[in-house]
Symmetry: C3
Subunit: 260 residues, 3 copies
């Protein structure tokens, strides 16, 4: 019943994110009933995150200034027990991204890591290939990678792909919802991180929140494709239409989740 709760409580989600999808993730946040704020200025991120119920750190177009802002905001979030969601965009493509993600994991207590399977493989110390921001290949032992990374950082790890794998180091879930058209629009990975942040902001059990978020996101992809066919422009627009009209009842009925 998380969607109902989100629409009642309208949690503020502080994004420090990339300029490619800032608009899209803000609109996706609104469509789901939460409130987005995008803010990266060092003089204000501590105060801004104090108003928020989740902090999303997305390194898609990171630079030196932004990384410092993430650390500042993250430390305040930790102090206030505001959950941090990390999207390690492009980890494995450049050392700077890999090292920055590791630094964030070292200096902050991150609550959810949501990445594609290539990025998660790399962070877990497995082999994978990431071209730019796309996973070209991932570990063949993806479930181990997810579980180990979650255990190591005492957090939830959510590795998205054809089948999403979520673990908190002990429990492990697979989410079978989704549609290949999600790969034809930029920022759908970032939207997955956003919905993880939103669901986390109103939950106690972040493992369950992440599983629910991924099921809901996959269902949004399925329903959007039904509305728009194989047309990425129309599909992109339909994502917001579907998200806005999604209910907990639809999610309950359509979700395909296996908890191991």
């Amino acid at each position: 019943m998380l969607l109902k709760k989100i629409r009642e409580e309208k949690p503020l989600i502080h994004h420090i994110t990339n300029y490619v999808v800032a608009n899209e993730t803000a609109n996706f946040t609104l469509a789901l009933g939460a409130l987005p704020v995008m803010s990266h200025a060092k003089p204000e991120v501590e105060q801004m995150v104090s108003l928020a119920r989740a902090l999303l750190l997305n390194i898609g177009t990171l630079d030196e200034y932004q990384v410092e802002s993430m650390i500042i905001a993250g430390k305040k979030a930790n102090e206030l027990n505001i959950p941090i969601i990390l999207d390690p965009v492009g980890v494995g493509a450049t050392d700077y991204r890999t090292e920055t993600a590791r630094r964030i994991l070292r200096e902050l207590k991150v609550d959810i890591i949501r990445g594609n399977q290539g990025e998660i493989s790399i962070l877990a110390g497995y082999h994978a290939k990431v071209a730019g921001v796309e996973a070209v290949s991932a570990s063949e032992r993806m479930e181990d990678a997810v579980k180990e990374l979650a255990f190591k950082h005492n957090c939830v790890v959510c590795a998205t792909g054809k089948i999403d794998i979520v673990s908190d180091g002990k429990r492990l879930a697979k989410v079978f919802n989704g549609h290949p058209m999600l790969g034809t629009v930029t920022g759908t990975g970032c939207m997955a991180s956003t919905i993880n942040a939103i669901f986390a902001s109103v939950s106690e059990d972040l493992f369950k929140a992440s599983v629910e978020a991924q099921a809901a996101f996959g269902i949004i992809g399925e329903l959007a494709q039904k509305k728009s066919g194989n047309n990425p422009g129309s599909f992109h627009q339909a994502i917001y239409d579907v998200a806005y009209n999604l209910t907990d009842e639809i999610v309950e009925k359509m979700k395909k989740v296996e908890i191991l």
Copy 2:
């Protein structure tokens, strides 16, 4: 007859604005028949604003560099009598935003302040609550707040909400056009500031320009909702379709304005 004039003269509108809605406000400017330019580099903002017929300063994703650019561009705009429109996004959420807006109002002669009713309440010294960039509550004495702020800064203040309130410190107008779906898409406040800037760029009387702009914007929201229903993705797209095809005749016929 402002839309006709805009389409004939194609005024250039210099935006120093946030990266969340830069694309959206550029497209909205084009749809209305004006020309957008987004530019924030210190080495060029003076020269860029000299080519423009209005300067829009939007602090939605402000940082130290951008604030300096705004001051530099604004001083040049003042020197050349190019109208400045300020969108104090998120004022009240953080001290940095509030202080930056106050600094801009102190160091520059601003011609129109366009904000939501929470932001305007705060700037006018009244109590309000702003969560991130959304007004949660505004002053109960909104009309006084608008009028006083306009009087103090000798400018037009346009506070948007369910009913928009516009004043130049003497005259006061209420605009009843609009649709709740405008709240489901990010950047519609920023678009309201853009249409204020465009209308101001071809007007002598900025109070009238702001009232006309808000009526036109509200009508765009009403017509877009008729085209798209309660679907924020479709609604977002319809905004540009409607804006492009909007005429002065439609505005004249549909506008609901009360001038006090």
Copy 3:
């Protein structure tokens, strides 16, 4: 048969570009079957461009930091023989843009310059008027301007407008495809540069690649307008739908190209 090749090889296109159209050009890249990455951080651009098959430098919202990144990435691209595509957005509007474009052309070996006819006129040393980022007027001797600029920099120059003109300093082509609705959406010039970069990334003959790219882009505009009418929001969305479903056969059948 370039589209088929693009979809098989999925070349990574590294964009250092403006925040107004970063999302749009990323989605356009995906719709055509290539992979986009947007990255501007000095610590990573050398490594990122090493993974890419083309580097697109777009100065639409340039600043001091970004210009340095472009030079760093460009030098690495030159070293590795990765083609560089320059989009000199707004050259002629401010000295900073003109000087930056000249600096890039001096310090880097650029392979394709894709600009509007005003920008190309200025770079070639002819008279033109550029308002913000729009060509208001261009040289009356456009063909000469294109050919001379291409000859001078030993590259391909692609000047887009009602009729696109492409030259490598010896050969010259005119492309008659396109639709006026392309002028109602921001970033369609940037998309033209993106498709030039994508086609170049899988080609030996960059002159032919640029001509094919412009024909394909013009056809996308024509087909998108057929789907959406004179509605810029719907037209914008249709661009991605059409690009995703475009085939080499459609391009072959519809292209209107004259090679002189």
